[in-house]
């Protein structure tokens, strides 16, 4: 069989367009501090944190099959480490952001030892308990203010405009990096392994996939991303407390974004985050009613659009902005029937 | 000859994929009919349509003169149609006896009860309190058969009774068949082993790609007829 016969398609017309549009958008966004208002920057930073966090949850649950309600453990941990490095070690908080994320990734390794003992719904709540252990542990450390939390004083010396712009650019960079990281990961060989594990763990292992190591890798990457989002968020918010940093609402919002957009596809958290942002912007003054509606929306989407809104659109219209599949092209015509 | 169960132009779908393309089938009280056919021919789908696990149009299936197509499975079993599903499918958290009792949910009167079954398969009486799934494959098949009998059906449908079973078990199970039909029960078996199917049945239906490709008295059909019906056009090409 001459090798030229094998052709495998990995991109779509939509994905090529999306790539160019995406690059253009990022360039425009990068110049925003020169023409936009500080409230826009702040809004972007906030939504970026939600988005990165949701993206990582999608990686974990949608691709890794690990439905966790405890990712706030890493969000808060990243935030606290950033703050401690800034306040106590005198490290510039912006430098401390990636360090906080790194710490969250590292702490995920011992945590996985406990969490991986559970599966399915029990994994979900088990990880929540672990996050509670994080919360209660930090609540009992008086150096970071115990239950009442503390303030990121390290930023007090930095000038307002510099601080705003740096935070904004960091957030933008993190968003781009998160998308690129996840997308390239999924397109690589490892992405295949992940899909295989999600479909059938036992078979994946016997086909030569180091399942435990892959799952751990995903868990650690997701924790890193969550820690990144957390560190970024608390640089923007300045004040940290255990109840806020380890609140289950972080994961709740991530789940809503991912499920509304469509789980197990990169477009999911993107679309979800945009919808979430829009709802939050226009409706959040309705307080309880807004939250109530958000809960209802998640329920309805789960019941009636199992693939999420983007998944629904994709099924109808066949769009795929971030294709990861491999289509075998020009397969030699009709298969030889093996019957009779 | 009065038909107990008939289907007329029965079609069945899985989502958008059509699996049955108009099956005409008739069953007379007291006979044992075998259905044979290649993999994916639609045999299991046919049995599932009869028992309500796959949707069917109301008028496509008549049982004792009444249309039963598309009724819920529970309703159909209460009317007297029971199935031994492909692959045994015992309830893992129920004991052998509880598995058998589940068969009696439909609450129909008749000769079959726990005592009768234990007399037919003594090994089950011995293991009655064990979890059903701790039994060997063959014993599990006995439980699956017994469970179906517990509903005292008028028609018993058996899907691939012998699949994956050791030869000895296949013998044992078919040895129990006369005791079952002896009660006046009508039986349909789906069987991969053509020789076995011809031996135990009075009539044979052969399915091919969702259609009936051959039907006749088991004793009358020749091997050639059967293998032609099995593979139809494709066999001619091969």
């Amino acid at each position: 069989m001459p090798p030229t016969l094998i052709a495998v398609e990995r991109a779509t017309a939509a994905s090529r367009t999306a790539l160019f549009v995406g690059i253009a958008l990022v360039l425009i966004a990068a110049s925003l501090p020169f023409w936009g208002e500080s409230s826009w920057m702040r809004e972007f930073v906030e939504i970026a944190c939600y988005f990165i966090f949701a993206m990582m949850w999608n990686l974990l649950a949608g691709y890794g099959g690990m439905v966790s309600i405890g990712q706030q453990a890493f969000f808060g941990f990243g935030g606290y480490v950033m703050l401690m490095l800034g306040n106590f070690a005198g490290i510039n908080p912006f430098v401390a952001i990636p360090l906080g994320a790194l710490a969250a990734g590292l702490v995920a390794i011992p945590v996985s030892f406990v969490a991986f003992r559970l599966s399915g719904g029990y994994f979900a709540i088990g990880t929540w308990v672990i996050a509670e252990v994080f919360r209660l542990s930090f609540a009992n450390v008086s150096a970071v203010g115990g239950g009442s939390g503390t303030t990121l004083t390290a930023l007090r010396g930095i000038e307002k405009a510099t601080r705003e712009r740096t935070t904004y650019w960091m957030a933008l960079a993190c968003v781009v990096a998160a998308i690129a990281l996840v997308y390239l990961f999924l397109r690589s060989k490892r992405g295949l392994a992940l899909l295989a594990i999600r479909d059938n763990e036992v078979a994946a292992e016997s086909q030569g996939i180091p399942v435990a190591r892959m799952k751990l890798a995903v868990y650690v990457v997701a924790a890193f991303g969550a820690g990144l989002a957390g560190a970024l968020y608390f640089v923007g918010n300045l004040r940290i407390s255990p109840d806020a940093a380890f609140s289950v609402n972080w994961t709740a919002f991530a789940i809503f974004m991912v499920v509304i957009g469509g789980i197990g596809r990169i477009e999911g958290p993107l679309v979800g985050a945009l919808i979430f942002w829009a709802l939050n912007k226009f409706l959040s003054d309705y307080g309880t009613w807004y939250l109530l509606g958000l809960g209802l929306l998640a329920i309805l989407v789960t019941l009636f659009f199992k693939q999420g809104l983007w998944g629904y659109a994709q099924q109808r219209l066949g769009w795929s902005l971030f294709p990861t599949q491999r289509r075998l092209l020009r397969a030699p015509a009709p298969a030889i029937s093996s019957r009779g | 000859m009065n038909a107990l169960l008939t289907t007329h132009a029965l079609k069945a779908f899985y989502g958008d994929a059509q699996a049955l393309f108009g099956i005409d089938f008739a069953l007379t009280a007291g006979e044992l009919v075998a259905i044979i056919g290649a993999n994916g021919a639609g045999k299991s789908t046919f049995l599932k349509s009869l028992t309500g696990l796959v949707r069917a149009p109301r008028e496509a299936i008549h049982f004792k003169g009444e249309p039963i197509g598309g009724l819920p499975p529970g309703e159909i079993v209460r009317r007297g149609l029971a199935m031994v599903p492909e692959g045994r499918r015992l309830f893992p958290s129920l004991s052998v006896e509880e598995n058998l009792l589940m068969g009696a949910t439909a609450n129909r009167k008749g000769p079959w009860n726990l005592q009768r079954l234990y007399a037919l398969f003594p090994i089950l009486a011995e293991k009655r309190h064990q979890p059903g799934t701790s039994l060997s494959g063959g014993q599990q098949q006995m439980v699956a058969l017994g469970r179906a009998l517990m509903s005292n059906p008028e028609v018993l449908l058996c899907d691939e009774l012998s699949l994956g079973l050791a030869p000895i078990v296949i013998r044992e199970i078919y040895a129990a068949m006369p005791a079952i039909t002896g009660e006046g029960m009508t039986v349909v078996i789906v069987e991969q082993d053509v020789t076995m199917a011809r031996q135990v049945s009075q009539r044979i239906y052969c399915f091919q790609e969702g259609r009936v490709s051959l039907e006749g008295k088991s004793a009358d059909l020749t091997r050639e007829q059967i293998s032609e019906a099995y593979f139809g056009m494709e066999a001619a090409h091969a």
């Binding site: 009992n140 203010g145 009442s148 918010n237 300045l238 806020a244 | -």
Partner: protein, 391 residues
């Protein structure tokens, strides 16, 4: 005319909602007071008050404060109601360089909880309330009038207030020891604890007769109920926070009678509003008539925050943040909660202290339960209506 915006953040929902309960009414009243606008630097501005709910959540408090500053572009931020709301709001203002006046947090949790440096103070944020030294003085003044074994049990939760009140240096332990009280402090507990038998057992073991602390209302009920079940009967219970509101006392049923708490403001306080010229009594009556509810202590402070805001803005050279801040810093008025003046009337330039007395709940005439001032040794100007009695 141009519009000047004042932001206000308080907990209107969540477990701390009673602290923000009166704010809507106070703001309605302010709309009338400000209907003619305020002139700043010779120019007349219409006034708009933007109220935000912190949902009792510090994260949310920080977010809405940022929204007020960046999106609504308010000239001045006001905030009140426990460190969980006031601290993050103050922090956001400090960082965004917008003036802020806060209240209803003892000054220690506000200052040290935000990692303030006593030598430098803050540049943009100002606080008006009393301090732990006042609450300690009032509590002990009251207890000294009664015959007890001077054994005190402390209930300090792991939150902004609890950590400050229970702090070895800044809080209760040191002064109590100096005054000859023995304190049993089993340790910080989480808000929302379902079971207090550990604390009750410790108090029983030490023979505690006085219980004090600063707990949220549901925890107070859990504690008091279990204490009764388990046969623990202290002679005095003086708690901060949980016993501030009549609703919480009513929810306690029989358990509520005779409980004591600090009083920061009441209708019998001899002060008058600089803005509406209402006396404390008149303000409380207006509230009871308007909101159809019994008066609560935060009313006075919410009102006073606006008094200060109005006064400062009218003195500001312009609406520039720095000018407004300077005007706030140089405030000196007599408000409905007493005199307010930064620099001099407090430990740091950012804190202005108000007077504090001790009160006790009992069956009331007009309402189911009413609060009576039972000790005024540390603020004699405020008249007492009785003396502290045993439970």
């Amino acid at each position: 005319a141009d519009t000047l915006k004042i932001g206000y953040v308080s907990p209107q929902t969540g477990p701390l909602a009673p602290f923000g309960e009166a704010d809507k009414w106070v703001i309605e009243q302010m709309k009338t007071a400000f209907k003619d606008g305020i002139s700043v630097g010779g120019k007349k501005y219409a006034v708009q008050i933007v109220l935000k709910d912190s949902q009792s959540n510090p994260n949310r408090a920080g977010e809405v404060a940022n929204d007020l500053i960046l999106k609504d572009k308010v000239a001045l931020v006001l905030t009140a109601g426990t460190p969980e709301t006031a601290n993050p709001v103050s922090d956001a203002c400090e960082l965004n360089e917008v003036p802020c006046i806060s209240s209803v947090v003892p000054w220690q949790p506000w200052f040290f909880g935000r990692k303030g440096d006593p030598a430098k103070g803050f540049n943009w944020t100002y606080h008006l309330f009393w301090g732990l030294e006042d609450v300690i003085a009032n509590y002990t003044n009251g207890w000294k009038t009664l015959a007890t074994n001077k054994k005190v049990g402390g209930l300090f939760p792991n939150d902004g207030d609890g950590n400050a009140w229970g702090d070895k240096e800044l809080g209760f332990p040191k002064p109590l020891a100096q005054m000859g009280f023995t304190l049993t402090d089993p340790g910080r507990f989480q808000n929302g604890t379902q079971d207090f038998s550990a604390q009750i057992a410790a108090f029983k073991k030490e023979g505690v007769e006085i219980v004090t602390g600063v707990v949220i209302p549901p925890d107070a009920k859990t504690f008091l109920t279990q204490a009764r079940q388990q046969g623990f009967k202290p002679k005095v219970i003086t708690l901060g926070k949980a016993l501030l509101f009549p609703g919480a006392i009513e929810a306690l049923g029989d358990l509520g009678d005779g409980l004591s708490t600090e009083v920061w403001w009441s209708p019998s306080h001899p002060f008058t509003s600089s803005l509406t010229q209402q006396s404390a009594k008149a303000l409380a009556e207006a509230y009871e008539a308007g909101a159809k509810k019994q008066w609560t202590q935060p009313i006075g402070f919410a009102h006073a925050l606006f008094e200060v805001a109005a006064n400062a803005l009218s003195r500001a050279k312009s609406l520039k943040a720095g000018d407004v801040r300077d005007a706030v810093a140089s405030t000196s008025i007599d408000s409905v909660v007493g005199p307010v003046k930064w620099g001099g009337q407090g430990p740091f330039k950012n804190v202005s202290k108000t007077p504090l007395v001790l009160g006790q709940w009992g069956k009331g005439k007009k309402y189911k339960v009413e609060l009576t001032i039972v000790n005024n040794e540390s603020a004699k100007r405020i008249p007492a209506g009785g003396t502290l009695r045993l439970l």
